[in-house]
Structure formats: C-alpha cells, structure tokens
C-alpha cells in the first residue's frame, strides 16, 4: 500500500546543535517528535500514514554519531549515523567482524545502504532486521544519551516486541560497540527472501562459531533467529546442545530441530508460519554445518 505521490505529510525538520538540545526537544514534544537517521523506514511509514510525528529530529552529525573506530584492545564502535555501505567497506570490519559486513550487504540495495544505518535497523526493532543477528552474535551494546545521562543498552534485552524497544522519550542512540571477537571465528547469515537479493527476509538465520575451552564440546555456537518471532532472539536450547554434546552432523541436526521448536512465527504476505518453521530448521542446519567445517579446520 504505497502512496504514489512522492510528498511527505506536513512536518518540521529539526537540526539540533547538541545531544542535550536534541534530547530536550524530544522530551518537550513527546509523541510529536522522532529522532531520524537515514529515513529509509521513517519516510515509508510517514507516507503510508502509520507514523504521524510533526517533527523529525535529525541526529546525524551529533557527538559520536559520525565516527567508526576500531581499537585492537577494546573493539569496534560504529556511530549511529554511519551508513551500512561505510560499515561493510571498512577494512577493520571486513577483517574482524566479517559476519556484520556480510549482513549489511544483504539489506535492500546499494543506494539504500548509502542512507540506511545499523542503529536505525536496530531501533526500528523489526523482527526481520537483517543486521540484528550479527550485532547480537558479536555482543553489541548500544550507547544511549538520555535525560538521565549516558547509559549502555545490551541488545540481548533491547527488543520488547515488533517495533518496540527499551528506549524512552528523549533517548538518542549515539553508537553501537562490539567487544573484540574470538579469533578465529566463522559466521554465516542465511537470508531467505522471495527473491535472491533485496527483499525483506522470510527467515533470517545468523550463526557464529569459535573454539572455546570453557565449553564441554570445545566450541561455542551462537544462533540468532529473525522473522520468526515478535523479536529477533538467540536460540538458547540449540546453542546449549552444541556446547555440551560433541559437535557432529547428528548434534547439529538436533540443534536445528531445537531452533525450530523455539520459534513463534506468523502467517503473512511473505510466507506461511509453517513454511517459516521448517525453513528455520533447514537453514539453521545448513548454516551450522558450513561454519563447523570452517571452524574445526
């Protein structure tokens, strides 16, 4: 249901000079103002009439939002205004967080990724967000500037429902940080769409694996599932099977089965719930097998 007219509803564009000013404006205009980054979801929802905010508060360029830095001792920080193409082309991301770079490249089209941001993808809290699985698998933590000061929001507890997250009025996410990833590790994002490229996902399976002496099996596997529940989530039962049992094709099959049992999919225009469930099992098994081949050698 797209409005064929290019026009947006009446709105005011607000470009604050500081995070303090932006946050205060959002608080003063509660319910009428929304922070915006690339606008790739915002404009669609405003044109379709789902979002009716009067003020769009442009936070691109505010303190910390425009930088991407890698510290070999601390990890990676990606400012909230950094578009996905800059993330996936960044040499330190390609070298150390290749799963994140690969996930970015599955989003829509090249020209859209010049505007779309990872933090925007996360804050929309879509169950289908393509970059969310990689961000969760790498242990991403959001830096949030709010009325009460600066705080950290781990992704593990950030998502509250479709389109709902842990942010309060006046909160502005300035960056996402990731710890140093295990070396070596292997990751895979399997995206099932209605076409090979550019579509929203029917099912998204993210898998990350590495050697881990603390695990009984000697390996840790992270499995994050998207588009199959109200929020993207870690398939903990599947992870536990592969932490405790020797990793074989049999235990991988068992873990994939456990992933399928954990989903709560819906029927929608892209797929039936039943098809989603079976594809979670199949894609999880395939992703686990692929990363296992790489991580064991």
């Amino acid at each position: 249901m797209h409005n064929p007219h290019p026009g947006l509803p009446e709105l005011e564009y607000v470009k604050p000079a500081s995070l303090e000013e932006a946050s205060a404006f959002l608080v003063a205009h509660k319910g009428e103002a929304r922070p915006f980054l690339g606008g790739t979801d915002t404009f669609v929802r405003m044109r379709d009439g789902f979002w009716k905010e009067k003020y769009l508060v442009d936070i691109k360029g505010l303190d910390g939002t425009n930088v991407i830095t890698f510290d070999p001792a601390k990890g990676l920080t990606i400012g909230s205004a950094i578009p996905m193409n800059k993330v996936s082309a960044h040499p330190d991301v390609k070298k150390n967080y290749s799963l994140l770079a690969a996930a970015c490249d599955t989003v829509a089209s090249y020209q859209l990724r010049n505007r779309a941001t990872i933090v925007g993808n996360i804050c929309n809290a879509s169950p289908a967000g393509d970059t969310i699985g990689a961000c969760m698998a790498y242990g991403g933590v959001l830096t949030v500037f709010g009325a009460g000061g600066v705080r950290q929001e781990p992704l593990a507890t950030f998502f509250k429902g479709p389109g709902k997250n842990a942010l309060q009025t006046g909160d502005i996410v300035t960056a996402i940080t990731f710890p140093i990833p295990p070396k070596p590790h292997s990751g895979r994002y399997m995206k099932l769409g209605r076409n090979k490229m550019s579509d929203l996902s029917i099912v998204g399976v993210t898998v990350l694996a590495y050697k881990d002496a603390a695990a009984k099996s000697g390996y840790t596997f992270k499995v994050v599932l998207a588009s199959v529940a109200p929020v993207p989530f870690m398939a903990e039962a599947a992870q536990q099977i592969l932490a405790e049992e020797p990793v074989t094709e049999e235990s991988i099959g068992k873990a994939a089965e456990a992933a399928m049992q954990a989903v709560k999919p819906i029927d929608d225009v892209r797929s039936s719930a039943r098809y989603r469930s079976y594809m979670v099992r199949n894609l999880t098994r395939q992703a686990l097998s692929e990363v296992w081949q790489q991580v064991k050698s």
């Binding site: 797209h2 409005n3 064929p4 007219h5 290019p6 026009g7 947006l8 509803p9 009446e10 709105l11 005011e12 564009y13 690339g38 606008g39 790739t40 404009f43 669609v44 044109r47 769009l56 442009d58 193409n85 829509a108 089209s109 090249y110 020209q111 859209l112 010049n114 505007r115 490229m197 550019s198």
Partner: protein, 156 residues
Amino acid sequence: MSVTRINLTVNGSKEVVDVPSNWTLLQMLREKMALTGTKNGCAAGECGACTVMLNGEPVNSCMVLAVECDGAEVVTVEGLVQDGQMDVLQQTIIDAGGVQCGFCTPGMLISARALLDRNPNPSADEVRAALVGNLCRCTGYIRIVEAVQTAAQASQ
C-alpha cells in the same frame, strides 16, 4: 510549515533554493529545478528510478529530505553529459538495446556510473548486485548488464 533556503551544487552549477521542510530531494529536482530526468516511481526506496548521486554516492532521492542537502553536491542523469558528450554508459546502453520504455534508465545509469567509479571492471554478477535496486520491467536486464560491461571495457 517552514521553508528553508539551502545552497547546493547540482550538475556542477551552484544553486540557491527555498524548500518546504517536507520536500524530498526528488521533488526539489523535478519541481523547482525542472530536472525531470530523475523519475518518481515507487516513492518507497525500492524501484531506483529516482537514483541520483549525492556527494559522490548513489541514493534514492525520494528518501532524502531536500533540507538535508544544504552544502551538498548532487549529480542527476542530466549531469552525466559533459561538454555535449554523453557518458560512455549512455552510448553503450543505447547500442545494446538496454532502453525500452526508458523510465528506469536515468536511475540505472546513475547506479551503473557509481559502480564503474568504484569498480572499473565488474563481473556480470557484480553488475547485477550493484543494480539490484533499479527495477526494469521491459528489458529483462540482460542487455543492461551487457551495456555496463561494454562501457567498462571501453574505458580500460
């Protein structure tokens, strides 16, 4: 609703434009500057007919507010012509029969130009991946992909 005066460069020419705050870059180009080569298709960032270069990178101009473009450099399909000479891509897409109705062509050309600027010798798969956000309902894409590769070879 407020109107903001912005300064920007469009196809090499410095412009001063007054834009309402809800106008997109697409609207400003077509309705204020009469640059109607850039097309309005889906208005949802999916079809790519409105693709222009913004500060050297292709974007969907239906997904950018005009007021955000203060100080920016914009190149539209009209700007691909330099001193009366078409871009090599424009000639190869004509020669290959990659234009039928022509509605997607301006956006297709901008995405293809951006690809060749960052990757002067792309494979057919790389061309397809770069043009995934430019939908064509006429050609079946094969001739467009060929045109981009021919232009790449001609520029070597």
